[in-house]
Structure formats: C-alpha cells, structure tokens
Subunit: 351 residues, 3 copies
C-alpha cells in the first residue's frame, strides 16, 4: 500500500461523508506577527491587547481571516488536492474569537456532488467546521470546488446540489457576549466613521495598492499549512496553463481586507462571509487594489452599540479602483477583477 496520499478524486467522495482533517494547529502570537508582516493589517482589535480589553475581550483575538485560512488549509489535503478551481464560498459564519494558545481542528461534511458533463471533473460541495480544543466553533463555512476524476468512466452518484443561504445575515445576528462597544476609541481605531455614517449603495475606493511577491504568498500559504501544489512548485508550474505559481486566493482576500482599512477602519470583526468568487488568478508581481460597496445595514437585536454592515469588496490587479471596476452589462467581470467578496462586518454605532 502506497504510503503517500494522492488526495481524493471526484469519485472518491460520497454524499454525507464526514472527514476529520489532519494536523490540529495551535495558533500563537507568532502567527499573528506573521499575519501583520504579510498584510500590514491595522484593525485595532487584533493589534492591541489593551484596545481589545476596553471593549470586553480578554486580549486581542487573532485576525478573523487568519482563522479562516487555518481552517481552510486543513481541508486542502482531503478536499482540494486534485482541484482545478475553487469555485466559491458561501455561508461562512465566524464563531468564537480565537486567541493565541488555542488549538484549531477542522472536519468536513460532503453536502453535494455533481459531475460535469465532460465526465472528467465534478463539483464537490463541502461544509467545513473549525473548532477549538474546548469544542467551540470558530468558523463554519461552505465551499464548492471543481475536482478531477481519476477515471472519467468511474460511476458517480446522482447529482445533489445543496440549497445555500445567500444572506447569512438573515439567519442570526448576535453580537458576541460580553463585548461592549462603549469603550471603543475611534481615535486609536483610526477613523471617525461609524455604522451610522455608512449608507447602502455607498462605494469606497480603498486607494492603496500592494504588490505580491513569491516569497510572501508562499510563506503565507505554508503558514496556513495549505498544501495545494499550484502555489509552491515553479518547476511544475512552468509547463502548466499559466507558466507560474498561482497565488492562494485567500492571500488576496487578506490583502483586500487590509487595504479596506482605509475607509472601513472600524469594521472591527468579520461576522460572516456570504459568498465569494475568485474571478481570476493572481500571480507574484501583481499589484492588488480594492474597493467596497455597502450592500446593506442591519441593526443587531437588543444592541444599540453595534451594527452589521453587509459589504462587497472587489479586488483588482494592476488597476486602481477610483472608478469601481466590476462587471460589464452582460454580468462578466472586468478583466482586472480578481476577487468579489460578499461579507458582513460588525461596526460600532453612535451611542
């Protein structure tokens, strides 16, 4: 029996299958320091223990997207080692905050399978859940990926495509217990603009651009213990479709979130990711820009101190976003767009 794992192919998955993913991961202040070095994240909650304590956290929790990447990375060896494309995300709920010292493990359930008409590939829908060592959920999300078949002739089950909530916000909107925004210091947070100041339809150009280097995206992706081959092997990539290593899509999400600080500095936590698309691949040398649109505003039940903003953040490469590039009249993405992310953040309200 071969000692190495070739990863799963489309016909290896079964509906309802449950997978406990390998490599539990204790996260530390070292991971957070690397995250800061990789993206320059400046959201005060994740940067300062003191700031965190003043609004009811015991200390600064890790950046939400660092948690996302660690949970996601675990699923790769079992789910997407033979994937062609990560087609989308939906229904990502962030749970309890994660602190240095916590240990995250991830498990998944296969919730949908649909062979493509060419019979060479199929789409796998999977719900993955990351939990702490105390069993508290830190992230629960759905993604769907196109996975190769080992053998095009292999029989596959009848197609099942799960219904996915398009708006997680409608489901439940509870602010974290114990968090009281009265101690929130807008001067330290870096912006006077609070939940009350944003309007549905408002668009914000995040102005700055950041250029990706090979060493950076490789270090990031390895930090998350994401093993997808396409990110690390130039010897293989040089003969592939793009001739180069592809940047992990999550790296671009984190860059866009860090850039969004300029305009959304008080979006102190990501609450849910409602949906996301990697519209085009990114490569080292690309400069990432971003802009956001406020899709909606929701108060939270029983809370006057904090509200939810639903956002679309669009990232482009090598193209500033002052004119908000997105889709053309036929719904096709502008060729510069690399990311289209629909998510919900928490933001303090005026008292």
């Amino acid at each position: 029996m071969s000692k190495t794992s070739p990863g799963n192919f489309f016909e290896d998955f079964t509906l309802g299958q449950e997978i406990v993913h390998a490599t539990p991961r204790s996260v530390t202040a070292g991971d957070q320091a690397l995250y800061t070095a990789l993206y320059g994240s400046r959201f005060a909650l994740h940067s300062s223990d003191e700031f965190a304590r003043r609004i009811g956290y015991p200390r600064a929790p890790l950046d939400d997207l660092l948690v996302f990447h660690v949970v996601f990375g675990k699923t790769v060896p079992d789910i997407s080692l033979n994937a062609i494309a990560n087609l989308g995300y939906a229904a990502s709920d962030f749970g309890v905050p994660v602190y240095p010292g916590d240990t995250i493990t991830t498990s998944s359930e296969i919730i949908g399978l649909k062979e493509n008409s060419n019979r060479k590939t199929g789409v796998v829908y999977v719900r993955s859940t990351g939990i702490t060592e105390r069993g508290a959920i830190v992230l629960d999300y759905v993604r769907w990926v196109m996975v190769n078949k080992r053998d095009p002739k292999a029989p596959v089950p009848d197609p099942v495509v799960p219904g996915l909530p398009t708006d997680v916000m409608a489901k439940h909107l509870e602010a974290p217990d114990g968090v009281v925004l009265s101690g929130y210091d807008i001067e330290q947070a870096g912006s006077p603009h609070l939940w009350d100041d944003y309007q549905a339809g408002e668009r914000i150009d995040h102005v700055d651009g950041m250029t990706i280097e090979e060493a950076e995206h490789q270090m990031a992706t390895r930090l998350y213990q994401n093993t997808a081959k396409v990110h690390f092997n130039q010897h293989l990539a040089k003969d592939g479709r793009f001739g180069r290593r592809i940047v992990y899509g999550g790296h671009v999400i984190s860059m866009a979130r860090a850039l969004s600080f300029n305009g959304l500095a008080n979006a102190f936590r990501i609450f849910t990711i409602n949906g996301g698309t990697h519209a085009a691949p990114s490569f080292a040398g690309d400069t990432i820009y971003a802009w956001s649109e406020v899709l909606g505003k929701d108060p939270l039940p029983r809370r006057k101190d904090v509200g939810a903003l639903r956002l679309r953040t669009v990232a482009t490469k090598d193209r500033p976003c002052a004119d908000f590039p997105y889709k053309d009249g036929e719904g096709k993405y502008d060729p510069a767009v690399v990311l289209d992310l629909d998510y919900t953040v928490l933001m303090p309200r005026r008292g």
Copy 2:
C-alpha cells in the same frame, strides 16, 4: 464625507498641534522572531532571556530599533503619507525597555513648520512619543519631513524652525535602574572589546554585506504597520521617479545595526539617536555594507560598570567599507552612502 483618509498636506498642520496616532500595537515574541529573521540581529541582550536576567532585566527586551520602527510606523498615516522625503531625525531618546506583551501607542506634536520657496512643499518638524500601556515613555524623537501642499496657493503660517539639540548625550545620561553589568558575559556576548577599549576617532569596518529582497523590506515595513505608499506598490512606482519601490529607511538602519555586531557586539543598548540622514534611497537588490566611527566616549554618572559611546554608523550600497567611504571635500556624500546615523550606545566597562 469621504470615508478614506488622504493624509495631511502641509497646510493642514498647525504649530503646537497634537495628534494621537491610530493603531495601538501589542508587541510579542513573534515580532522579535521576525526581527531576527529580517536582520539576523545577534545582540545577546535581545536574543536571550537568561543573558538579560543576569544583568538585571526581567527577560530579553525587544530590539531597540524594533521599538523605534513601531513608534515611527504609527506616525506615518498622519504625518508623512504625503511626504516627499524624510529629511532627518534628531534627539531620539529611548526610554524604558519594551517586553513582549507591552502595548505601544504614539502621539505627536508639531514643533515647526516652514514652507519651501517653491510654495509647493514645506518642512514639518514633529516630536513623537511612544508610551506603554502604563504610560512609560519608550521613545521620544524629532523628525522633519518634506510634505506636499494640496494647493500651492494655500496660505501658511510664519516659518518656525525649532532648535534641536545636536548632542542628546549632554542632556541626561542615566543607565537603566536595576541593570548591573557585573553579570555580563563577554564570551556569550561574542566579543572581548568593552567600553574601555574604544577610542574617539577609531573607525571600524563591519566587513559583511547583506542584500535586500523586495519580500523582506515589504514584510518588515508592514510589520511596523508603516503605510507609506512608496514601499509597497510596484504598479504605481514603475511610473515614478525611480521606477521601483523604495526601501523604508528604517530597514537600512536595522541592517546597519545588525552588521555592526561585528565590531560592536557589546553595544548592548541604543541609548539615543542624535541625528540621522538617509543620504540616498535603497532598493531591492542593493547590498548594504556599514562602518562606524567612535565620535566620543562618556562615562555615566555614578556608574563604573557601564559607559556610553557616541557612534557614527555609515551604511553604503554595493560598496565594501574597508576604506570608510563618507563625504568628499565639499561635504557631499560619497554616492554609495545611503545612511549617516549619529547615535549613542551603552557598553559595559572593565570593573
């Protein structure tokens, strides 16, 4: 009202203005590990908790320049986002040591303003102070930067240029309380040369060179949450004056300090930065060399175990320093010089 900050222009500053900078920063062992990875710093006090304890510190404090960069980084969004050049530093006093877990915040006072004759730019003089969560000062320094005007015709106040001490040493020279150098182990520190062995006028070639990579200076500068646009955006830089991203000047200071270990291994703390000039920009691919001159020696009041050395450290690019390149007869820097730093270190004395 625009949600993004364009940064301040020259005419936005007023004399005496006080600014609390955003993004308090808790520093950790992760930041120190990255600092070591970025520069290879080997000063024993910052490398070993045990070494630190033997001379009276509770544990290894962070590298002084890491503290400098964190304090400096905070000021960028408010002070130098629209800067053309960081003209100089002066009067930097390092205060209490900073340990993992401390949270640093920075505030600034505008102490001078002088429009340039072209009316397009002006020089802003600013005193910035970093403090811990307990209010203890970790760094207090002055810098002056050339900042663009938004509108050349905007009226500006009468020029005020502050008097700056050229020799911080004269001001106060107190060794840190509780620090007793009798436990200092020169074998572990890496050099037998103590304060007594250095002479004013002595010059030391630090021999080695280190090549800068894009990923390294970007990661360093983001670690410090320094947001200056010129360091990160190749898409913008390609059409700029240099065609490339400029390396944060502080990155070169840290490289020079790390290189200076070979010759100054017992310079266990930076006490003050008396003045500094970035003589030329550095770019990825440049190899940094350095040499130092002992400008002066001062005993400390009531201390026989430790003395102060005033140093000039000069860094060059792509040019070894065996012949101590500096200025020509007209006071113009050798074209290879990138940094001219005048600072004071503490060093153990023979008992």
Copy 3:
C-alpha cells in the same frame, strides 16, 4: 587590536580545543511560526499543543530541525566563517525536547584536524553540543568542514581523524521518558501508516516540490543567526564561483523533512542524524523534491508503543523523484541530487 573578528583559519584550531559560542538564544512561539511559514511543516506533535499533551509532552516542542539549525548557527562564527565546504555530519543525537521559552547555548570541541595536501586548506572535525538553561542536552553532533588556511606555510599539527560511529542507533535507543503513544491519533496526524507498516528497503516518493526564494532562505538562515557570508551577499557572490548566493544546506534539510510528511507523517520525532552530505549547492529558483528509503527498523528496549526507523532521505533539485534518483554505478551522485541524509526517526507502533 581589531574590533572585528575575521573568524578562525585552519591553523588557529588545536586538537582538544573547547569553544563556548556566542549569542545564547531563547526560542519562542515566534520562531516556530516562522519555521512553519518557511517550510509548511505539518507534523502534528510540533503543530498542536493538544496533540502533544495526549502523548505525554507538556506542550508542542519545537521542530527538531529548528533546534538543529539554532545550535548549528551558533557554531558558524567560530568554526566555519572561513569554510569552503561543509563536508558532512555524523552522530547527531537529539536530546530533550525544546519548548518556547527555553534558552539554547552551544559549545564545541575540536576532535580532529587534517591539513589537505595542497597546504591551502584543512579539514576540521568538531563535536558541538547545545544545552538548555538547565544544562540539559538538546543536540550533540559532529560535523567536518574544509577551512582555509590564513597562510599556506603556517605549521600545523599531525593529522588526527576521529573515528565516527556510522550507526548511532546501535549506541542507545531510549524513547523519551513520559511519552506514551497510546494517545496518538493517526487521523489527526494525517496517515494510517505506522512503524509496523514500513519495511527495510521500501522506497517512498514524497511527490511534491517546493521552489526556494531568496527572501525565504535568507530569512531562515538569519532566524538561526547563522552568519556564513555566502548566504546573504549578492554583491560579493556575483563575482564568486557560482555567481549567486548559496542556500544554507540546513534549509534544504528542512524542506526535505517537510516534503517527507507525505509518506512519513507519523515520523513524529527525529531521533538521530547518522550522517549527511550536501551533494551539490542549491540556489534560489531551485525546486526541491525528495524521496526516502527505509534503511532499517529497530524496536526500542522495553517499548511496545514506539519504534525507530532508519531512513535515507534524498533531495533533488528540478527533478521529480518517482524513479528515486541517487548514485550511478561508480557511486557518483546523480547531478540533480543535493542532499543525502541518513537519520533515524521515532514512529508509533500498533498496540
């Protein structure tokens, strides 16, 4: 007296000489995070405090090779600053596990000296030992390096070549006290293959490749405070034998170990390094692949829960290892081979 150290030349060493190396190093969670980012290591013992506790460790110890590199790095300024080549390793015993917060110091004894016939160089055999602040040995190993003479005419002592054990396993095979593998979770560890499943002579292709970037190997080597000039200075290297910076051989060892997870996921600790050769230098841009052969299997005395596997791991550059490239009929390495490492790991046994 010059303040800078030129390093030792061959004629500076004496048989039996003992050297205490500079720069004690407290290791932290930050170092482990960087190690993960640099190599993507996924061995569960080093990744998860919870996993470690379940098999008797107080928390996750640092990766064994991170400890190796830190101990090795200390020896460079005294032993190999003027080395031409690191000829080999032998008899490396890993001692107590190292945890964040431990402080490592290294000392060495010169155990052999042999001038080469050209009289320009000689081979230095050195045994180096790393200990914690409590005096516990974390690593004890022998290496031999070819070192330049300062003066070819300098007299040298009679040659002494130490006898080196070729099989450390025979010496002593004690599993760590307190470690009980009954709690070992193969699902979390990522592979069902245990000690019982491997056979002497079995060969495993580790499948994946990882491309080296300049920023990565520089950051790694500086993290270990390894000061060898050849790794950092492109300005000097451009006129040298290879025209470029040479990657620290230990960086390739760590890449090979990380790649070996796919096939050897349950090799939870490195026990000894029996011998090692850097068959060719590596450079940025090289893609490292690896394969392993099981050289032997040994039970441990009084232990039914854990056994030792002796392995050869061979790393190549720009050449996949499906056909196990190694040596030709005359014992010469395949030109793609960069590393030949003979080491012993611990692996759980079926109950």
